[in-house]
């Protein structure tokens, strides 16, 4: 039968390609593009019509919030317009000077029903990106200075390249999870990844403890250790520093993000628990839908206190 199996590829390549295959693909792409346009248009319209109503609402909240806590809670349950938050590229610019070349992509969130939280998050993002860019500029300048001082010439100097970018991982009515990253060519150790998990109702940053509960450290340790062992068993090329990991303390500020499907993913920086060549290490420890979250924080309304 092996002979016939090997002939299957010949069959495969003889499958006739219908003339309208291109049309089908184009049609699928246009269908999706039109859908996006439609959504954008209807959102714009909706925004205009609700803005007047929203103005009234804000005024009312201002007047009554101190009088009635319950009333405030009621109001915050009101606006439900599809997905409440989205993230997109807000600004993109390039850096070009004597020491560096850089590309910086800055995202913005748009939250239809909560400008306060929206502005707060965007402010956080902008501050972080500025900080990253400034830090890198200092590093680059120091490097160039040292380079020239140690006999390097201006002509031979190779500019440091940097990219600042973002990645949106998860967004629900309650949480947005994303990453701001910096890659540069100076040295791998200066690459950075910042993971943000933010409560969309309060703008508070959500920690791993908020998500997994008091017992988070033990839970992570057990799960990650087991996964490390399994991975090493499956692939002998991998090597985790288990002794180090067993003794390390998992703090509340441990990096993590939530995947599209809700998987809570713990992140370890390169070199932290594994050999450098293995890069950043990620371990799924739970699913956001199984941990009684975000209901636990949904009731919190710290911004209007």
């Amino acid at each position: 039968m092996d002979k016939q199996l090997n002939e299957l590829n010949d069959l495969f390549n003889k499958i006739k390609i219908p003339e309208n295959l291109d049309n089908v693909i184009d049609h699928a792409i246009n269908r999706e593009r039109n859908r996006k346009k439609k959504i954008m248009r209807s959102k714009n319209k909706l925004l205009k019509t609700i803005s007047a109503a929203a103005a009234c609402l804000i005024l009312m909240v201002g007047l009554t919030v101190n009088l009635s806590y319950v009333f405030a809670q009621e109001i915050y349950k009101v606006p439900v317009i599809g997905a409440l938050a989205k993230m997109m590229t807000f600004r993109e610019y390039t850096i070009q000077n004597d020491t560096s070349i850089g590309k910086v992509i800055i995202p913005n969130v748009e939250i239809t029903d909560n400008q306060v939280v929206q502005n707060f998050i965007n402010d956080t993002i902008n501050k972080k990106v500025n900080e990253i860019v400034e830090e890198q500029a200092i590093l680059d300048a120091e490097y160039k200075e040292a380079y020239l001082e140690t006999g390097g010439t201006e002509e031979d100097y190779k500019k440091i390249e940097m990219t600042v970018d973002y990645q949106l991982y998860y967004v629900s009515d309650h949480i947005i999870s994303f990453e701001i990253s910096k890659y540069q060519t100076l040295a791998p150790a200066y690459n950075e990844n910042y993971f943000y998990n933010i409560n969309l109702k309060t703008a508070d940053e959500i920690t791993i403890k908020n998500v997994l509960g008091e017992n988070y450290a033990a839970l992570i340790k057990d799960s990650v250790e087991q996964q490390m062992l399994n991975r090493m068993k499956e692939n002998s090329d991998l090597s985790y520093d288990l002794d180090y990991f067993k003794n390390m303390t998992i703090n509340e500020d441990r990096s993590f993000y939530v995947q599209e499907n809700g998987d809570i993913t713990i992140v370890f920086a390169p070199y932290e628990v594994a050999s450098g060549y293995m890069g950043q290490q990620e371990f799924i420890v739970e699913n956001i839908n199984n941990v009684g979250f975000p209901d636990a924080v949904a009731g919190k309304i710290s911004l209007i206190e």
Binding site: M1, K3, Q4, L5, N6, E7, L8, N9, L11, F12, N13, K14, I15, K16, I17, P18, N20, L21, D22, V24, I25, H27, A28, I29, R31, E32, R35, M88, T89, E92, I105, D165, Q167, L168, E234, N235, E260
Partner: protein, 163 residues
């Protein structure tokens, strides 16, 4: 950034459209359904481009979507009209025509798990590691599924026939 990703995606689909179509065809064995699968997969993938974590996996990721769409359609639509004309025509000159046709038809009797690895390995002629990447399983699992799949095929086709 998104625009760039979209362009990259469209180019990738256009460049490999024949492979994607033929893969879908291998599952459903008729033109109309295979076209539907490619269309639906393109639409869904284009809609969720933001789910790609690394660009270099775009093609692998899309293969997976085509496979999923094919399997979904097979499950949804119980009565397929296979195009038998095709297989008759292209095997016309082969000396072991009957055996090939028999094998080609027997593939449909396998469960999705085995069918998929056999289609990818023998029809599409993919490497084990590519298959592993697409199905998100390790190479050894691919190998053992292939072996069991072939054994099952032999069984379906009557072990005595091919020994």
């Amino acid at each position: 950034m998104i625009i760039q990703l979209e362009e990259e995606f469209i180019t990738m689909v256009r460049e490999n459209k024949e492979d994607f179509y033929r893969l879908a065809y291998s599952y459903v064995k008729n033109e109309q359904d295979a076209l539907d699968i490619v269309g639906e997969a393109t639409y869904k993938a284009f809609n969720s481009l933001n789910k790609i974590r690394e660009r270099k996996y775009m093609k692998t990721w899309f293969y997976k979507i085509v496979i999923n769409e094919s399997i979904t359609l097979i499950k949804k639509k119980k009565n397929f009209v296979y195009d038998t004309q095709f297989i008759e025509t292209i095997t016309e000159e082969a000396e072991d025509k009957d055996k090939i046709i028999d094998l080609y038809n027997s593939l449909d009797k396998l469960s999705e798990k085995y069918k998929t690895v056999i289609i990818l390995k023998y029809m599409k002629s993919m490497q084990i590691n590519e298959i592993a990447e697409i199905l998100n399983i390790n190479c050894n699992t691919v190998k053992s599924r292939l072996k069991r799949g072939v054994d099952k095929l032999k069984l379906v086709m009557g072990g005595q026939y091919y020994g």
